[in-house]
Amino acid sequence: MNLRYVYQELTRRKRRTVIAVIGLSIGIALLVILNALSLAYHEAARAPLKEIGADITVQRPGNVPEEMAGAVFPCSAVTIKKDEIDRVGKLPGVRGMGTALLLWVFDPNRAWTVLGIEQANPVGPSLLKNFVAEGRYLEAGKPEALVEAAFARQFGIKTGDTISVAGRSFPVVGLVDASQAAKIAVANLYLPLAEAQVIAAASQPLQSVSPFAMGDVNLLFIRADQDKIADLAATVKGLMGPKTAVATPDSFLKLLGSFFAVSDKFTFIASLIAILIAVLIAFKTMAGNVAERMREIGVLKAVGWTRRDVTLQLLTESVVQCLIAGILGLACAYAAASALGFMTVSIPIPWEMSPTPHFLPGGGAPVFKTLRLPVHIPWTLAFFAVLLSTVIGGLTGALLGRRISKIKPSEVLRHE
């Protein structure tokens, strides 16, 4: 193989080289960007759960409270027993767990959405501590409350006030701007989990719908091994009953509705088509090139080039051409990814995951998690694309080179 000859062939047959490189690079760019988009939607779908440090949320829907008085469960989240939590915690693939207790409390003069949280557990709503707008975060072991800032403004609640909820009093130690925090498991009032459990256990209307004991909760957050999320979700559902609502990133992916989001098959088939286009372009261009150069190859053989010399020459030309196409395709894909990164995507949060009473202001309004589509091209995908392009070049060059190198010089030079 002679690199000078390779260089001259590629640069002095510019039109052919440019057509081949552009054609192939489009195929490679399509392949990369389709997969990058698919990955971006998958990553976006992880965002709502990632915000609360979890990969899976578990709720058990129940009956509608018979009367809206005192502390009740939202119908989307009734009791999860302590022994069920313990059993889930022992499942393979579980890397961490968090719990919370979401209540609707109807006091005579005010309705609250109350969330009992584990203050220090990184899995669950404890990320609220990063969004304290005034005052401080809840301290361990103290019966105190955080109030959502907008709610506090609406009802004139200030840090330092004492509020009464379901007959229990709590000093307000801080205001939290929940609009900046997660969209899942949001409330007007945040209490230590143990305090919320006391309220729930003492509530007759709640007990009549779903028996509740201290240690029970109604929201379960699971952090899982990434490759085991789907299996673990199925196991949890099996363990806790078919009516259990188990949300995973896939649940949000389905809500996104995009082709890229809904179907890995679509991405796979589209990628396959892109690769096929790339292969066909490479093959057609190379085949045309080789057919044009039959006489030239006859001359090479006449002056002493062996079959191996000819094959290696054509193989190198093809590999270099396809490598350039791969790199160009990748560059185009990076440019497209940068442009697509400006797109925003709104992920609808089901009411069940952030339930507020319908009859309260804003109670039935749809909630969205809006974020920029996180399009990026992992190095593994970039490497695969360039490698694939090079392999296509190698196979095409080797196949055509081997075939064309069989020609006898006398056959093509006979007709002067």
Partner: protein, 221 residues
């Protein structure tokens, strides 16, 4: 005639049912310039192909520089041609994307050698062909005569034992053809180059040491 460097004995070549060369025998001595003449279609080029190892005979034997090549494989023939044989074709057959010096050095491309050495050898030959100022030119920018001189340089670059020329002036005007013949004659005269030339031009053939005639696939004299 000096000791024979090329011997073709009882060569027959049949394509399907058509016999193009029939029981042809021909010897060329070392340093001899032989012209193979005959009418168009009489089998001259096919015989040249058989004798040069471009084509394998249906029957008969070819020996070049003492080595019988009739039974060699394609690759063995290619390597043999690279080391022993030079070709000059009627239509030059230069590679359009390579410069004059790169075309001249084409047989050396598969040989382990530095680019500088290839360039030096090609430049030396092109200087002799009075193409020193055309070395970086592409074939498309060369005249017919210049192209054929590049082709002659290519034929000589591997120091061949014999040069096969197939109608080397066939695509050239008379004056340019004469100039090319002068180069071939000079090579023969001054360097003792063995040349077997196919031509249908009897005037050109007269410049050779010996003229061999062909008719209907058979060697007459």
């Amino acid at each position: 005639m000096n000791e024979a460097i090329l011997v073709g004995a009882d060569l027959t070549k049949t394509f399907d049912k058509l016999t193009v060369v029939r029981k042809a025998s021909l010897s060329v001595g070392e340093g001899e310039f032989v012209a193979l003449v005959g009418k168009s279609g009489c089998g001259k080029t096919t015989l040249l192909s058989l004798l040069s190892g471009l084509e394998r005979p249906t029957s008969g034997r070819v020996t070049i520089a003492g080595k019988e090549i009739s039974g060699a494989t394609e690759d063995e023939l290619a390597l043999f041609r690279r080391e022993n044989v030079g070709f000059v074709f009627q239509s030059f057959n230069l590679i359009p994307t390579l410069t004059a010096w790169e075309n001249a050095a084409l047989p050396l491309f598969p040989v382990q050698m530095t680019t500088e050495e290839r360039h030096r050898r090609a430049a030396e030959l092109l200087e002799k062909m009075e193409l020193g100022d055309r070395m970086e030119h592409l074939p498309a920018t060369l005249s017919g005569g210049e192209k054929q001189r590049v082709a002659i340089a290519r034929a000589l670059i591997n120091h061949p034992k014999i040069v096969f020329a197939d109608e080397p002036t066939g695509n050239l005007d008379t004056a340019t053809g004469d100039a090319i013949m002068a180069i071939l004659n000079r090579l023969h005269r001054e360097q003792g180059m063995t040349i077997l030339m196919v031509t249908h031009d009897t005037e050109m053939a007269k410049t050779a040491d010996r003229v061999v005639r062909m008719q209907d696939g058979e060697v007459l004299s």
